[in-house]
C-alpha cells in the first residue's frame, strides 16, 4: 500500500537519511501496516490513554502555581468571602489558581474531570475486556497490568483529591488515616510514618504531592508503556466476524485509516473534557472552605471511584474486637480490604480459574460474545451489582435526601442487596444468556422471520424465513463450546468409578465448576439455507475448521449429553502458527 503513495523528494531524502543511520524504515513500515480492528468498544481504553495525556499536561500547569505546604497563612485574595481566614498554603494557592491565575480554574476543572473520566475509562475498558474474554491466553499479563493501573489510578486520584486541603479532602484524608490505623499491628505505625506524627500534621501535603506528581504518574507511565507494547506485540483481539479467525486479523491499517481515527479521538476526548470543564463546575473548594478537623459537612463524598470504599464503610456495622491484646477495628478493616479485595483479587485470579474450570489452555484472539460465555458474563454482572450496591451506599445520605427514603432504610436495603443482589444477578444473567443462545441457535436453524405469510397450493399457510446473512452467520457460529472435564472420560463411568482426574477435593471441585460452564445451547446442525457458500473459495483453513467444529457440536442434541461426547471440543488453533495479520 505504502508503495503506491507518492512521497515528496525532500521527505524521501530526510527519510533515507534517518533510515541509513538508525534503520527505522522496516519498523515504521510494519507499524504503518499494523491492523486495527474497528469496533467502538476498542476506543474505551484509548479514552484512558488520552485523558492521561491531558492529566499530565494540565497537571504540569497546576504544579507551576500550587504550593504543597501546610504552612498557616491568612488569606487576602480575590475571593472575599474567605478574606482574613487562616488556612494552609496549599488551600490558599488552590484558591489563587481558581480565582487569580488566568485560565487556572478552567485548567483545574479539566484536570479534575480528566481524572474522573480516566477512571471511568479504565473501568469500562476492563469490563469490555472481561465480558469479551480478551484477557485469555496469551494476554493474562496485560490483564494483570491493567488491574495494577486501576489500583494506581485509585491512589493517584485519592491523593490528588486530598491535596487542596479543603474541608472535603481533609475529611477524606481523615478516613484514609483511620483506614491505615485499622491495619492490624502495623497500622498505627504506618499512619504515624506517613503523616509524620499525629493527624493532620505538616508533612502530609508535601508527601502526597511528590507521590501524586512524580511517583505514581511515573509508575503509571511505565506500566501504560508496557501495556501498549505488549498489546502491540500480541496484536489486537477482534470481535467475531466473517473471515475473522484466531490467526487472521481483520481491520484497517494504522496508516492512513487508524491514525486519522485515533487522532480525531484524541481531539474528541479533549473536547469532551473542555466542554465539561467549561460548563460543569467540579470540586468547588471555595464552597467547602479550608479544612479544620472540627468540622464535617453532610454529603461528604469522595470522587466516584472511591465511592465503593465509602459505601463499604457506611454499610458496615460498628464491629470492633480485641484479639490477643490487639484492637481489631473490623468496622474499618473489612470495608477497606474485602470489597476491593474480592473484585480486584478475583479479577486477577479469574483467567487462571477459567482455564482450570474449562481445561482450555489454547490461545484466543477472537473474542467471545458475552452471551456465549454465560458463566463468565453472569459472574461479571454479579460483580457489577456487588460494586454498584456498595457504590450507591457511598451516597446513602444524598439518596435518602433526594428520594425521601429514611437514611437507615437505605443502609439496610444495601446491606441485604450487597449479598442477595449478586446471587440473583448471577442466575438471572445466566438464564438471559442461555435464552439469547437459544435465539441464536434458532436464527441459524430457521433464519429470520420476514412477516410474509404465503398460502401454499394445498391451502397451508407458511411464513417465509430468510436465512441470515453470511456476516451474521459467521458471528453466530463463532461460539465455542467448552470442554467437558475430565477430557475424554466421564467423571463417573458406568461402574460408578470416578475418573482419576475427578478424584479428591480439587478434582471434584473442578468437575463441579466445569459443569457450570457446560450449560450451553448447542448450535444446530448445518442446514440447506445456503450455508455451504461460506466455505467456498476463500481458502482459509480456519474457516473450514470452524465448520467441522460446528458439525461436531451439532451432532449432540442436549447439553446434558455434551460431557459424554469426547469430540465436543472447541476449535484449537495450531499452536505452532504465529499470529499472522494482514490488511483488510
Amino acid at each position: 500500500m505504502s508503495d503506491d503513495v507518492h512521497v515528496p523528494g525532500a521527505l524521501r531524502g530526510l527519510g533515507n537519511w534517518v533510515d541509513e543511520r538508525f534503520g527505522g524504515a522496516g519498523y515504521v513500515r510494519t507499524l504503518m501496516k499494523k491492523v486495527f480492528p474497528d469496533h467502538w468498544s476498542f476506543f474505551l481504553g484509548e479514552i484512558a490513554l488520552y485523558s492521561f495525556v491531558i492529566l499530565l499536561l494540565t497537571g504540569t500547569f497546576l504544579s507551576l502555581f500550587f504550593v504543597p505546604s501546610m504552612n498557616d497563612v491568612v488569606y487576602h485574595g480575590s475571593y472575599i468571602k474567605l478574606n482574613g481566614l487562616r488556612m494552609s498554603e496549599a488551600y490558599a494557592s488552590t484558591l489563587r489558581i481558581s480565582f487569580d491565575v488566568r485560565g487556572g480554574l478552567l485548567i483545574r476543572q479539566i484536570h479534575h474531570w480528566a481524572a474522573d473520566i480516566f477512571m471511568v475509562a479504565i473501568t469500562v475498558h476492563m469490563l469490555r475486556i472481561f465480558f469479551t474474554g480478551a484477557y485469555r491466553k496469551p494476554r493474562e499479563v496485560n490483564w494483570l497490568i491493567g488491574i495494577i493501573l486501576f489500583s494506581l489510578g485509585l491512589i493517584e486520584g485519592l491523593f490528588g483529591y486530598s491535596l487542596p486541603d479543603d474541608q472535603l479532602s481533609g475529611a477524606g484524608l481523615r478516613i484514609f488515616e483511620g483506614v491505615l490505623q485499622g491495619i492490624p499491628i502495623v497500622g498505627t505505625y504506618l499512619a504515624y510514618f506517613l503523616f509524620g506524627g499525629g493527624f493532620p500534621g505538616n508533612d502530609i501535603v508535601p508527601r502526597m504531592y511528590i507521590i501524586h506528581v512524580l511517583l505514581i504518574p511515573g509508575l503509571i507511565l511505565a506500566l501504560v508503556t508496557a501495556h501498549l507494547l505488549i498489546m502491540f506485540h500480541q496484536k489486537h483481539t477482534a470481535m467475531p466476524a466473517k473471515d475473522q479467525t484466531d490467526t487472521h486479523e481483520l481491520g484497517q491499517p494504522f496508516f492512513p485509516y487508524f491514525i486519522a481515527k485515533t487522532t480525531a479521538w484524541l481531539f474528541f476526548v479533549f473536547a469532551a473534557l473542555a466542554i465539561l470543564a467549561t460548563f460543569a463546575q467540579i470540586n468547588p473548594i471555595w464552597q467547602y472552605g479550608p479544612y479544620t478537623p472540627l468540622a464535617i459537612s453532610s454529603a461528604s463524598q469522595p470522587d466516584w471511584y472511591m465511592g465503593i470504599l465509602e459505601g463499604a464503610l457506611r454499610m458496615m456495622p460498628a464491629w470492633e474486637i480485641n484479639f490477643l491484646g490487639h484492637t481489631l477495628s473490623l468496622s474499618v478493616l473489612i470495608p477497606f480490604a474485602l470489597p476491593l479485595g474480592i473484585i480486584l483479587g478475583g479479577a486477577a485470579f479469574w483467567p487462571w480459574f477459567e482455564k482450570w474450570a474449562t481445561g482450555d489452555n489454547s490461545e484466543h484472539h477472537v473474542l467471545d460474545r458475552p452471551r456465549n460465555a454465560a458463566v463468565r458474563t453472569s459472574i461479571g454482572i454479579a460483580v457489577v451489582v456487588f460494586y454498584g450496591v456498595l457504590w450507591a451506599e457511598g451516597a446513602n445520605d444524598v439518596i435518602a435526601n433526594k428520594l425521601q427514603i429514611p437514611l437507615y432504610t437505605v443502609t439496610w436495603i444495601s446491606r441485604v442487596l450487597v449479598i442477595v443482589g449478586p446471587i440473583l444477578a448471577y442466575f438471572a444473567t445466566k438464564r438471559i444468556c442461555i435464552g439469547l443462545q437459544r435465539k441464536d441457535a434458532e436464527l441459524l436453524e430457521h433464519g429470520l422471520e420476514t412477516g410474509i405469510i404465503v398460502q401454499r397450493p394445498n391451502g397451508e399457510f407458511e411464513e417465509i424465513h430468510r436465512p441470515v446473512s453470511e456476516e451474521a452467520r459467521a458471528v453466530l457460529e463463532a461460539k465455542k463450546v467448552p470442554l467437558a472435564l475430565p477430557v475424554g472420560a466421564a467423571a463417573v463411568d458406568e461402574n460408578g468409578v470416578s475418573a482419576p482426574q475427578a478424584r479428591g477435593l480439587m478434582g471434584k471441585m473442578r468437575v463441579r465448576a466445569n459443569q457450570a460452564f457446560l450449560e450451553t445451547i448447542p448450535l444446530p446442525a448445518g442446514d440447506g439455507h445456503g450455508h455451504g457458500n461460506g466455505h467456498e473459495g476463500n481458502g482459509h483453513g480456519e474457516v473450514e475448521g470452524g465448520g467441522q467444529e460446528h458439525a461436531a457440536v451439532g451432532a449432540s442434541t442436549a447439553p446434558a449429553e455434551l460431557d459424554r461426547l469426547p469430540d465436543a471440543q472447541p476449535q484449537r488453533p495450531d499452536p505452532g502458527a504465529a499470529g499472522d495479520e494482514s490488511e483488510s
Binding site: L82, F279, S298, S300, A395, I405, P406
Partner: protein, 273 residues
C-alpha cells in the same frame, strides 16, 4: 401532519416521541405544582398584635392538636413558653399548621397573612415568656463578617445542612432542609428556637453578632454565581460522578460509535430475498 407521517419510521422518531412526551409531562407537572415558587420574604415588623384575634385564630387552626389552652396533647407539644419566634418560624415557613403526622414537617406554601401570624405569635407569647421575633436590625447583615460566618457555619451547620446549605439527610426520615428559601428572620428564629431536629443555638452559644455573620454567609453563598459553570446542585462529588458517567462517557461512546460506524447493508440484504 404529512411531514410527521412521512418521518414516523425514521430511526430517531422513537427518541423524538419520548423526548416530546417528557417535555409535555414536565411542563404539565410544572404548571400544576408551580415552577419553584418560593416563599415571599417579608420584613418582620413589630406591628401591634391583637392577642384576642390571635387567640381566636389559635382556637380555629391550632387547638385541635396543641390543646385549647396551648397546653399540648399527645399529638403535639405544649406551646406555653415556646415564644413568638417559634410561632413565626413555624407558620411563616408553612410548616404549621401541619399537613399530617410524620417524621417532620416540611416547608410548604403559607396559608396565613403575616399579620395573622403575628397575632397568633402574640397570643402564645402572652402565655409565658419565650424567644421574641428578632427585629429587622437584629437580622440585618450590614457590616456582618461573612468570612467569620463561613467558619461558624462550617463548625456548627454543615454537618446537617451541607457545605453550601443545600440540605442533607438525617436519621429516621428527617432531613435538614436546604437554606435556599429561608429569610434572614427565619434563619435567626431557627437558631434561636431549634425547630424539629435542629439544636437550639442560644445567645450564649452563638452571639447575636455570630448569628448575623452566619446569615451573611448563607445569603451571600446562595446568591453567588458559580464561577466554574453549572453548580450541579452543590451537593459535592455525587452529582459530579453522575455527570461524568452519563454525560462524559455517554457522549464519548456515541462519538466512538460514530467513528467506527460501518455503512449498513441491510437494505440490500432485504432486496435479495
Amino acid at each position: 401532519m404529512s411531514w410527521i407521517i412521512a418521518r414516523r419510521r425514521h430511526p430517531a422518531a422513537g427518541y423524538a416521541a419520548i423526548a416530546g412526551l417528557l417535555v409535555v409531562v414536565a411542563v404539565g407537572y410544572g404548571a400544576l405544582t408551580g415552577f419553584g415558587s418560593g416563599a415571599s420574604a417579608s420584613a418582620p415588623a413589630q406591628n401591634a398584635t391583637d392577642i384576642a384575634q390571635g387567640r381566636s385564630l389559635f382556637l380555629d387552626n391550632c387547638s385541635s392538636c396543641h390543646g385549647l389552652e396551648a397546653q399540648g396533647t399527645p399529638q403535639a407539644p405544649s406551646l406555653i413558653g415556646a415564644g413568638a419566634a417559634a410561632v413565626d418560624f413555624q407558620m411563616s415557613t408553612g410548616r404549621m399548621p401541619a399537613k399530617e403526622q410524620g417524621p417532620q414537617n416540611d416547608r410548604k406554601p403559607v396559608t396565613f397573612t403575616q399579620q395573622q401570624i403575628y397575632d397568633i405569635a402574640g397570643y402564645i407569647a402572652s402565655l409565658a415568656p419565650g424567644p421574641q421575633i428578632p427585629s429587622a436590625s437584629e437580622v440585618s447583615t450590614a457590616g456582618a463578617d461573612a468570612a467569620l460566618g463561613s467558619q461558624l457555619f462550617s463548625t456548627n451547620c454543615t454537618q446537617c445542612h451541607g457545605f453550601a446549605g443545600a440540605g442533607g439527610a438525617l436519621t429516621y426520615g428527617k432531613d435538614a432542609p436546604p437554606l435556599t428559601a429561608s429569610t434572614p428572620t427565619q434563619i435567626y428564629e431557627a437558631m434561636l428556637t431549634g425547630p424539629e431536629a435542629m439544636p437550639v443555638f442560644g445567645d450564649g452559644t452563638l452571639t447575636p453578632s455570630d448569628k448575623r455573620d452566619i446569615i451573611a454567609y448563607i445569603t451571600q453563598t446562595r446568591g453567588e454565581t458559580n464561577p466554574g459553570g453549572f453548580s450541579l446542585g452543590r451537593t459535592g462529588p455525587v452529582t459530579e460522578g453522575l455527570v461524568i458517567w452519563l454525560g462524559g462517557l455517554g457522549f464519548l461512546v456515541l462519538i466512538a460509535m460514530w467513528i467506527t460506524a460501518k455503512r449498513r447493508d441491510t437494505r440490500v440484504d432485504l432486496d435479495e430475498s
